[in-house]
């Protein structure tokens, strides 16, 4: 592989990154080639020692998306980080995607339950409109209790969601540190 090919492939993998970030990375590798050539190495030797540009690029991209997710917690940023880390290798698919689906499931179930409880009096009113004979005081008060529980559950879910998401981002960054490859025998 030539220097040109290496840099082009790296640029390709980094195409999703902002310009500034990408150009900084490209400059680092340009510099690496300059120094290597100066030290009397051939282009193909330098490429060989660097490793695959795809893998290096993926790692840099995953690192960037994770950092974004850490600074600005938004669904988009988290999805991009998860996606980028999964792309690093099969092992990551197993240890990242599984917990991610579990986390989404817990958050989704909690919110659906909380919101359904909260609106249960409204559902009862609908029921009353549809069949007025079926109205029972017991059901009415029970639904009010459910609604109260639902409001508390929703408030709790707000904090639980934040807690779980922060925990999950920590888990991602722990994985990045530990798992990502890049070694000769990887």
């Amino acid at each position: 592989m030539t220097r040109q090919q290496f840099l082009e492939e790296l640029r390709e993998v980094l195409s999703m990154l902002p310009n500034k970030e990408r150009e900084e990375i490209m400059a680092d590798f340009e510099e690496h080639f300059e120094n290597g050539l100066e030290a009397g190495k051939r282009e193909d030797e330098i490429c060989e020692a660097l490793g695959k540009p795809q893998q290096i690029g993926k790692e840099l991209a995953a690192s960037y998306h994770l950092e974004r997710a850490e600074t600005t917690v938004s669904p988009g940023n988290i999805f991009r980080a998860v996606w980028a880390i999964i792309g690093l290798g099969f092992f990551n698919l197993v240890i990242v995607l599984g917990p991610f689906i579990a986390v989404l499931g817990i958050i989704f179930a909690g919110w659906v339950t909380g919101l359904a409880f909260t609106v249960s009096p409204v559902l009862l009113i609908f029921n009353y409109i549809i069949s007025p004979d079926a109205f029972l005081l017991f059901e009415f008060f029970f639904s009010l209790i459910l609604s109260g529980v639902g409001i508390f559950l929703s408030i709790a879910m707000y904090f639980v969601t934040r807690f779980i998401i922060n925990g999950f981002i920590k888990y991602l960054s722990y994985n990045m540190r530990l798992v990502k490859g890049g070694f000769k025998n990887a």
Partner: protein, 107 residues
């Protein structure tokens, strides 16, 4: 050697080298790959990450031979982090050495 294991060690190596003096990227890569086999390209993601975490600062310096080089400098936060990793490494290696010694003596 195990991949995960080397990953952590690579971080420690970079920190230790920068503790002695400022280095540019290529220099760091060469010094480490002289000691054990790495994919040299993987040092750059590591350098970027630790720089963003505030452990290094960077500056450009002209070289006599050619283009300017990006030097990495260890910050006080980086020194603290180095101390932590070094301590972990010491505890770890003492433990492993003890186990190896016991294992070899029992043979």
């Amino acid at each position: 050697m195990n991949i995960q294991f080397k990953k952590g060690v690579l971080e420690l190596c970079v920190l230790v080298l920068l503790n002695k003096k400022d280095h540019y990227g290529y220099e760091l890569v060469q010094k480490i790959s002289e000691k054990f086999a790495i994919s040299e390209g993987s040092v750059y993601p590591l350098l970027r990450r630790l720089t963003k975490e505030g452990y290094f600062t960077t500056y450009l310096k002209e070289s006599i031979e050619g283009p300017s080089r990006k030097y990495y400098h260890l910050t006080p936060e980086g020194k603290v982090y180095l101390e932590k990793l070094y301590q972990e490494w010491k505890d770890f290696s003492i433990g492993v050495n003890q186990l190896i010694k016991e294992g070899v003596e029992n043979d």
